[in-house]
Amino acid sequence: MRETMKGRFQLGVMITLLILAGLGLTLYKHFVLGFPLLGKDTSTVWSIEAWVSFKAQGGTAQASLTLPDQQSDVWIMDESFASPGYGINQINDGGQRRAVWSIRKANGRQDLFYKVRLRQQPGGPTVNDQPEPFITPVLPEPYQTAAQSLLNTVTEGSADASSFAGTLLSHFNASKPDQNVNMLLGMVEEGVKAPDLLINLLHMANIPARIVRGLQLEDGRRRQPIVDMIEVYDGENWQLFDPRTGQSGNAENFFLWQRGAKSLLDVMGGINSDVNFSIISQQIPTRELALTQATQEQAALIDFSIYALPLEAQNAFKIILLIPIGVLVVLFMRIIVGLRTSGTFMPVLIAMAFLQTQLLPGLVIFISLVSIGLWIRSFLSQQNMLLVARLGAVIIVVILLMAAMSILSWKLGITQALTVTFFPMIILAWTIERMSILWEEEGPGDVLKEGGGSLLVATLSYLLMSSRIVEQLTFNFPELMLTLLGIVLLLGQYTGYRLLELKRFYPLVRAARQPR
């Protein structure tokens, strides 16, 4: 007795571990590796191409372009360079990546390309960048006085760094700017860049700020210039401001290319240099993305999984991984409901055939094949022959029937019947044999009961297995099989009543109640 208690305990622990492991791995893959659980199956991938062009002057030419960094909400999937004849170097220039193209001799127009594919992905690792120390700038008079007076006004009308910046920008963007602003805008007319001026003003108010450059992500944009934005440090985070509108917040679909005011493109040995960006978006299955990402990060879970197999084998697994679902249905119908089927797991095989034929054609084909087979089998049983030979004969007859069915339906133009070949014929032959014995021994009623039970279970399995959600879950998360295994082990412990027993034993309960 103690032995069994111990065994039960061990099994209980195992079941719990299996179920938790399956669910845990699934959740890990979903939340950490980004596999889609259900629903939205594709995500947007942006492809940005930077096109650097300049006119080389016959000597050594070198062009360097700032490259985007991994950022908290953007994941850079891959990048590539295209530039005939140029050597490419990636350097780190004060924390900013730069690509350096160089060539010993170049003449005429030069075109260099840099292409990056990226995906917006909230909740990535936060980039830790503290503001660098700065020296409070001093503007030439009379701008310094105008600036001081403007800053005083703004300070009165704001509470903290970000509201200060917002108020300052709204002063600059007002339809009728006040006197001080007008004075300062004069500086811009003299050639000072507006963002630089704003940064200086913010620095004068002792607020850390910097210029960032980026792109508005919009599909199909070509020859898009880079946009300057202002970032203000509020003590904890950098807040993004658009100097042209005064809008705050991380503008949707704004891709940060560069932080800080360093030049985007430097060209030596060339003139008329320019950089343009073109942007396209693609819809890519999320699963594929998650896979690429996980492979890059060398997540062992992915490295040693069926995704490492060739595509063909993967497709086979897509179907194989559905079998446990059918098995679970069979177990449920047997243990919990108490339905009788012919051949324990035969309904799963029928359901797999249904996956190829669709439900209704499958049912029609199956029932007609088995009926004709039964009829022929009844003829065979009148002949005196050995059992194995008769089974063999039934298999051959089934094949003949399949061929006849295919040819006939093809000629009639019913192409669905061609899927008849997906039915496993050995299974069909066995079903026919079993059914015919059942018929002889127990009568047609039992044949209908058992056959009907099998078809019902097969149909239920089919409905589950053909569901997109189930297919996605089983293929994307094969770990769920551990959970299924746990559930199966759990079902193996069920000693309660079957649903059909509630009906079966009803007369008994009534009888037991009556004498009292």
Partner: protein
């Protein structure tokens, strides 16, 4: 809440469906519970071949001195079928059964001859060719579990005790005793009807009569799960039914435990006119219908046995224990 549960109960009653709680209160053993808590626990797999093969059972029983129908011949190979004619020639009545058949499948009962033809229990006549085809099917494994090749066993036909003639339509009535760890716990009699085609198979429409373990007296009778008072074909009242040699039947059944060491066993017996109770076959997975025939759940009785301190009692004491503790409640009230 009370009105809700009464409403649900009324609805269930209407559909003739009961609830798990009611079943549990009645002590009814479920199929899952039987498989897990009794069969897989008390019937070790390596012992199952003893009862799955009727020939082994028969030889074992003969060795143990337990009475069984007489073995006439065994057909082992298809080529042996040539000898079948000479084996059958002197026999007027006989039974051919597959050694590994289950649920009474493939059993052929010949009760007489009509010239060249053989008369089945149902009255149909069969040619010799039909019989040899049947034997060939048996050998091919048509009736055995998993379609394994099988043996055909030919044994003498039981001369049914005429005491039950009024209760059975053709066929020989048999008695099923469930023996748990050597203690007989529940018994019933199975009587063939016209609907069951002369077979004593409950789910084909035979009548099941629950028997009082203490006395062998009938308790209740059911056909297809519904209580009946009289035999549907002979019209005979079941309440008067009492099985003779009851103590012998219980002792024989209990002895099967020593013979097989299977803890949860269904013992099928028949009453022969001359030989008295004979063991017909043993079943390591006896069904649950016996509860319906008895109008009682079996689980409380199994629990009583499990709770015993000492199980290895002599047969006589085990039988006495069962007769004392599992006496039908109705006789008390």
């Amino acid at each position: 809440m009370a009105w809700l549960s009464s409403l649900v109960n009324a609805a269930l009653e209407k559909c003739a469906v009961t609830t798990p709680a009611q079943l549990r209160a009645t002590g009814i053993l479920s199929m899952n519970c039987r498989n897990l808590n009794y069969i897989s626990r008390y019937n070790p797999r390596h012992l199952l071949p003893l009862v799955d093969d009727k020939l082994t059972t028969k030889r074992m029983a003969e060795k143990a001195g337990v009475e069984v129908p007489k073995l006439i011949a065994v057909i082992e190979y298809q080529s042996d079928i040539r000898n079948l004619k000479s084996i059958l020639a002197p026999l007027q009545q006989f039974v051919i059964k597959p050694a590994k058949g289950s649920g009474g499948k493939g059993i052929l009962v010949i009760t007489g001859r009509d010239g060249e033809h053989f008369i089945k229990a149902s009255g149909d006549s069969l040619s010799f060719d039909a019989i040899s085809r049947d034997v060939s099917n048996i050998l091919g494994g048509l009736y055995s579990l998993g379609g394994k090749t099988d043996l055909a066993v030919i044994e003498s036909l039981i001369q049914a005790d005429p005491i039950f003639n009024d209760y059975s339509f053709e066929g020989v009535p048999d008695i099923r005793v469930i023996v748990f760890r050597g203690f007989p716990v529940m018994a019933m009699m199975r009587l063939a009807t016209r609907a069951s085609d002369g077979k004593a198979n409950l789910h084909q429409g035979a009548v099941g009569v629950g028997l009082d373990i203490a006395t062998g007296h009938s308790l209740r009778s059911v056909q297809r799960g519904q209580p009946v008072r009289q035999h549907p074909d002979t019209g005979h009242d079941f309440t008067a039914l009492k099985v003779p040699h009851w103590h012998k039947i219980l002792s024989l059944s209990a002895a099967c435990f020593e013979m097989t060491h299977l803890g949860y066993l269904g013992v099928d017996l028949v009453l022969d006119r001359n030989l008295g109770p004979l063991i017909l076959e043993l079943n390591a997975r006896p069904g649950l219908a016996i509860q319906i025939a008895n109008g009682q759940g079996i689980e409380p009785r199994l629990k009583t046995i499990e709770a015993l301190r000492q199980h290895d009692l002599p047969i006589a004491e085990r039988v006495a224990f069962s007769q004392k503790h599992f006496e039908a409640l109705t006789s008390e009230s």
